[in-house]
Amino acid sequence: MHAIELEGVSRAYQKYSARHRFQTFKSAIVKGDFFRSLKPDELVTAVDGVSLQVEKGTTFGVIGSNGSGKSTLLKLIAGIAKPTAGTVKVEGKISALIELGAGFHPEISGRENVSINGIMLGLTKKEVQRKFGEIVRFAELEDFIDAPVKTYSSGMYMRLGFSIAINVNPDILLVDEVLAVGDAAFVPKCLDRIDDFRRRKKTILFVSHDLATVAKICDRVAWMKDGRIRMIGDPKRVVDAYLQDVAAAQEEEFRERMRAAPAPGAEAAGGSGEAAAAEAGEAEGAGREKRWGKREAEIRKVVLRGLSGEEKHVFHPEEGMTVELDVVARESLADFVFGIGIFNSLGTLCYGTNTQIEEWEPVSLSGEGKASCRIEKLNLVNGTYYLDVAVHRRDGYPYDYHHNLYSFLVSSTLRDEGIVRLPHRWAFSPDIRLKPPEK
């Protein structure tokens, strides 16, 4: 038995405002010609030929990046938007948590808003009266229920909205990313209530960016991209596929950015002699804090690679990374040190080292060459990191210092915190029992 059934559902929106849709006011009125047929280039297809079934009593998740059509899909199911093509079939009473507290009137009290909102969502007067206590209790607003809603904080507002919507007692609950506003105490309460729904064999459609929750509570998950369903099935598999896609997109974006704004100094590359170096040094006067040094030895290019050699900017914490420097020495040098430093987005140095600290003895540097540092395992937590690379004299005099000019991303589903991820393993004596994470 299906609670929700979509059959080739599409929804197109116009790119421009309504004014372009009509030929003239006159033709609209006289001919009754309200809708001119639109050219395809004036349309944006938010949902494109989506077919899916949701079994009664299951929890169905929808994930995808912003603008992938998730919310439009939800509105189509809720009946708020009409499909341009295809059919939407829904079995049972729907309550949609698309925007909490939509329809609250700021001037009147919470009490009156509860009854009005309840009626808007399809309750009768009696039902509202019966559920009133429960609604207020769940929202934890006993002391404020007679105050006008305009005096509520945004948290109170959303708690009341959620509490009403969930007490409408629908057969199908549509949840659209509304839990993002709640505080640490209220969100688990809401999730509890959603769990309760699951136990009572109601159907839930859950749109969220919180992939961990989606993977945990959903029976099946659909991943939407550009208005189409890319994948549908087991939550863990779909979430993983989505994450891989996101990582690939981030990688692409990093490359794009590198191409658009090449590392400073690249344009000076190829120049030789003191004059060129001085000129380059001057040209970079504005970005002095980013790069400095007289460039007796110059770092021409910095490439981040995965351990198998491919160029890369998005890493998993368990992955390794190679920092590769292309170096050119304008004169023969016998005193030089290579160093790297990794900073997190707060500017904290996570790790820094150089050849001097590790007691490498410089012998000679001349002409072109490559220096690389291989990090076996990054062991960093989620986030963006910035890289310093430098070549300098042992007394600290810089030949070429690049400060935070390169960045990379560490991305994983784990939400551990701190500066580094220390390699670790949990162990418990037999009387403490935990279920290990699924791998």
Binding site: F22, I80, K82, G103, E112, S115, I119, M120, T124
Partner: protein, 272 residues
């Protein structure tokens, strides 16, 4: 026609929602004011006093069609202004109502036609709150009630249907043509003077230009306001034929307004 019947059934199904929202409108309107609901009486009372002073004592017009005292002229005006206020504020508010409540249309499954209906109905209630002031002034200003005053509900009904039709049309069209809001504000001034509110169709000057009279007769609000005059000011039987035709016109407007509303309904969630 079948569509209209279905729509009316739908409206009836949402009567609880309409009632609740009308209550909310009225409550919110005077929320935070010290006098509260008393304003519903006070506003027309003050208006009445202003008219009496300005038109009764200062301008001091005399026309046998209305009466020979200043008080009578003020009463005559008030008879027309009160229902006119109901009509014009309903129309002007309707032009905005879908946009103001865009959240409801966009975020929850909500029958949009409820909104203009609520606007017109809450303004009707405001009119009804002001009516006792008008009724009280009829004897004070020296007129006597006749049994024909009992036809007042008929006139109110005709105006309700007409205003509903107009508001449905305006609210739906304004979503697509935002200019209507500004056009309407000007149209209302023009319409006000095209309705026998500050003058009477029986005035001497009008008898000399019959084509103007014909034009004025084409305005449905003319017959509605005349209806109020008949019931309360002249104390005579309402003009059945004219009011009957007006009711017919109102029903057609209601049907047309609802049809346009229906036609545009699906575009509201993305346009408001």
């Amino acid at each position: 026609m079948k569509r209209l019947a279905a729509n009316l059934r739908e409206l009836y199904k949402h009567r609880l929602l309409i009632r609740t929202l009308v209550g909310r409108e009225l409550k919110a309107r005077y929320r935070g004011t010290i006098l509260g609901f008393f304003w519903s009486f006070l506003n027309p009372l003050l208006l009445m006093i202003v008219y009496t002073v300005v038109f009764g004592l200062i301008l001091n017009p005399r026309d046998l069609a209305i009466g020979d005292t200043a008080w009578l002229y003020a009463l005559y005006m008030f008879c027309g202004v009160l229902p006119w206020t109901w009509f014009s504020s309903s129309s002007l508010e309707s032009a905005n109502v879908l946009m103001i409540n865009g959240n409801l249309i966009k975020k929850i499954l909500f029958p949009a036609e409820v909104l203009p209906v609520v606007t017109v109905t809450s303004n009707l209630l405001n009119f009804l709150f002001g009516l006792p002031i008008l009724l009280a002034f009829v004897p004070i200003m020296g007129k006597r009630f006749t049994v024909y005053a009992l036809f007042l509900p008929v006139v109110i009904l005709v105006q309700y249907v007409f205003t509903l039709g107009f508001s449905l049309l305006i609210s739906a069209l304004t979503v697509h043509f935002r200019d209507i809001k500004d056009v309407l504000a000007n149209l209302m001034t023009f319409w006000f003077f095209s309705t026998p509110i500050i003058y009477s169709l029986q005035m001497q000057a009008l008898q000399r230009v019959p084509w103007v009279k014909t034009l004025l007769a084409l305005n449905p609000m003319t017959h509605v306001v005349e209806g109020y005059h008949s019931c309360l000011f002249y104390g005579e039987l309402i003009h059945w034929k004219k009011l009957g035709v007006t009711l017919l016109v109102s029903l057609v407007l209601f049907w047309a307004g609802y049809a346009v509303f229906d036609r545009l309904r699906d575009s509201f969630p993305e346009e408001v």
